[in-house]
Each structure stands twice: as structure tokens, then as C-alpha cells.
């Protein structure tokens, strides 16, 4: 089984879980650790370390809010365990994709793909860009 763990400053992790719940509903097996609740990165680290050390049969996917932040810096130490996979730059699309993904296949490959998909989903929309797209014409695809 793969466990998904969201970790952040403030309450972003809990908020992210709340947003994901609103979209897909009834999420199980996802834990959120925000610094508003857990006070220090060290606290989160100790809790997760205990959990992971007790159970090395599961894989742990940890999503941190920002690369180089204190949460990431601290939780990176969990990578001493071979069943830990840590991603930085958590977004809602990443969380949803991981919740909905099936657990088969190579996990590292899957996570790299999820990161790529998230990057592809970051786009800029402006008056000009939107109008350019519309001016190019929005043709329906031929369905059959």
C-alpha cells in the first residue's frame, strides 16, 4: 500500500486535503501535517519517522509545500528509508493525481510523470492570450 502524506507551513496541508476531498470525496489513507498544528518541522519528522520505522512494508509518498523550506529540509532526512519518496512543490493537481492513481507499476517513474503533468498544467491566461486562442478558432473534434 502507498501512503500519501502532505506536509506544509501554516495549514496548507490540511487545506489541500480539504480541497481534494471536496473534489473526489471520501479520501482515505491521506494524512496532512501543517505547522499550525504540529508546531515544528522536527515534530512532524519524529511522528513520521516513528510511523515509517514501524512499518517498512508500505511506501510513503511525502508531498512538501515548498522546495528548500524548513519542512522539506527536515523531512528530507526520511529519505534514509528506501520506501520513502518525497516531492516538493505540492499542488492540488499532484494530490488528486496521486489519490486517483492506481498503485501498480514503478513508483519512481509514476512520480516523475506526475511532476511533469503538474508542470504542464501551469499556464498563464491573459486577455490577449485568451483572445488569440479564440481567434485561432475553436474547432470541435470529429467524434465519429
Amino acid at each position: 500500500m502507498q501512503n500519501l502524506i502532505l506536509a506544509s507551513h501554516g495549514s496548507l496541508a490540511e487545506g489541500m486535503l480539504s480541497a481534494a476531498n471536496m473534489i473526489v470525496g471520501d479520501i482515505e489513507g491521506v494524512d496532512a501535517y501543517g505547522l499550525d498544528t504540529y508546531h515544528s518541522p522536527q515534530d512532524i519528522y519524529q511522528l513520521l519517522k516513528k510511523k515509517i520505522a514501524e512499518d517498512n512494508t508500505h511506501e510513503y509518498i511525502i508531498l512538501c509545500d515548498i522546495y528548500g523550506g524548513s519542512v522539506h529540509n527536515q523531512l528530507m532526512h526520511l529519505c534514509v528509508y528506501p520506501n520513502v519518496f518525497l516531492l516538493t512543490g505540492m499542488t492540488l493537481s499532484i494530490v488528486l493525481e496521486l489519490i486517483l492513481a492506481n498503485e501498480t507499476g514503478d513508483i519512481e517513474e509514476k512520480l516523475l510523470q506526475v511532476i511533469q503533468n503538474a508542470k504542464d498544467n501551469m499556464l498563464l491566461f491573459t486577455y490577449q492570450r485568451v483572445h488569440n486562442a479564440i481567434d485561432k478558432g475553436i474547432e470541435d473534434e470529429k467524434l465519429w
Partner: protein, 163 residues
């Protein structure tokens, strides 16, 4: 073949794209809505919500009925999306290709009654829903596929709607 017709006042949005499209696994998504089919900004936004690997077309109700009546449609797994109960009723009166209907979102309105988290029905809706129910095999209420599916039949019986 229309695998499922979903009624959702937001048409195709992230929730539908990530949950229903995964569950239904259609080859094509057909959005039947007069307003969206003639509004370029709506079309652009709907195209963006489309998941990869699925074809999408946004058509008027009349065009959608014609497409569904094309014999080629029988061989394709189609996920149909409409905005209202009334639009769906119009569609089923023009094509017999729709058998299963899911109600996900019906807009709040004055005099309406919330019968599920995002489903608000007024008297007109109830009457049209009864007519729709008679023309298809199943009408169920569900926001996302992982939720428990609730058949509309029990609710309609309780309301004792006269047609």
C-alpha cells in the same frame, strides 16, 4: 452508445474530468448545451477541462441529437453531459440512445428544494424529472462515482408527482 448521461450545471469541470471520466472511461465526451456551443469563451474553458486521451465536442442540443442518431455512434463509448433536466428531456425526445442518467448538479433557485448536496429541484424540475425517468432505464443521484448511488425512484414516489 451513450455509457452515461450526466446532468451538471457546471458541465465539464475538474471534478467530472478527474472522477467521472476515469470511472466511465469514454472514448468521446459530448457536451450538449445551446449556450456553450455558441459561446467561444465557454468552449475554450471546456476544452481546457478535457482530460488527455479523450475526444471532446460541444454541440447544441439539436446537433447532439443528430450526432447520437448517427449509426456510427453505436460503436463508440460516449459520455454525454447536459446542463439541465429540461435539456436532457429535450434530448431523449429526439434520440433513443440515452439509457442511464446521473444527476450531479442542478442550480439553486427560488422555490426549489435541495434533495442532495448540489441538486436543487423546483416543481417544474420534478415534473420534467418524472417524464425523463419514464424514458430511460435509470436515473441516479451522485456527485462523484465513489459515492453511494441513490436512485431517484424512491424520491419521486415520496413526492408523488403527477405527470
Amino acid at each position: 452508445m451513450v455509457e452515461l448521461c450526466r446532468i451538471d450545471d457546471r458541465l465539464l469541470h475538474g471534478q467530472v474530468a478527474v472522477t467521472w471520466v476515469g470511472a466511465v472511461a469514454p472514448e468521446a465526451i459530448l457536451i450538449a448545451n445551446d449556450e456553450a456551443a455558441t459561446n467561444e469563451m465557454s468552449k475554450l474553458a471546456l476544452k481546457m477541462a478535457k482530460p488527455a486521451g479523450v475526444k471532446l465536442a460541444v454541440k447544441t442540443i439539436d446537433e447532439a441529437a443528430a450526432l447520437l442518431n448517427n449509426p456510427k455512434a453505436a460503436k463508440i463509448k460516449i459520455f454525454l453531459i447536459t446542463r439541465t433536466i429540461q435539456d436532457t428531456l429535450r434530448l431523449v425526445s429526439m434520440t433513443d440512445q440515452i439509457h442511464r442518467v446521473n444527476i450531479g448538479g442542478v442550480k439553486n433557485k427560488e422555490g426549489g428544494k435541495m434533495i442532495a448536496a448540489a441538486v436543487c429541484l423546483d416543481n417544474d424540475d420534478l415534473h420534467d424529472l418524472m417524464k425523463l425517468r419514464k424514458r430511460v432505464d435509470e436515473v441516479e443521484l451522485r456527485m462523484v462515482p465513489t459515492e453511494h448511488r441513490i436512485s431517484i425512484d424512491k424520491y419521486l414516489r415520496e413526492e408523488e408527482v403527477e405527470v
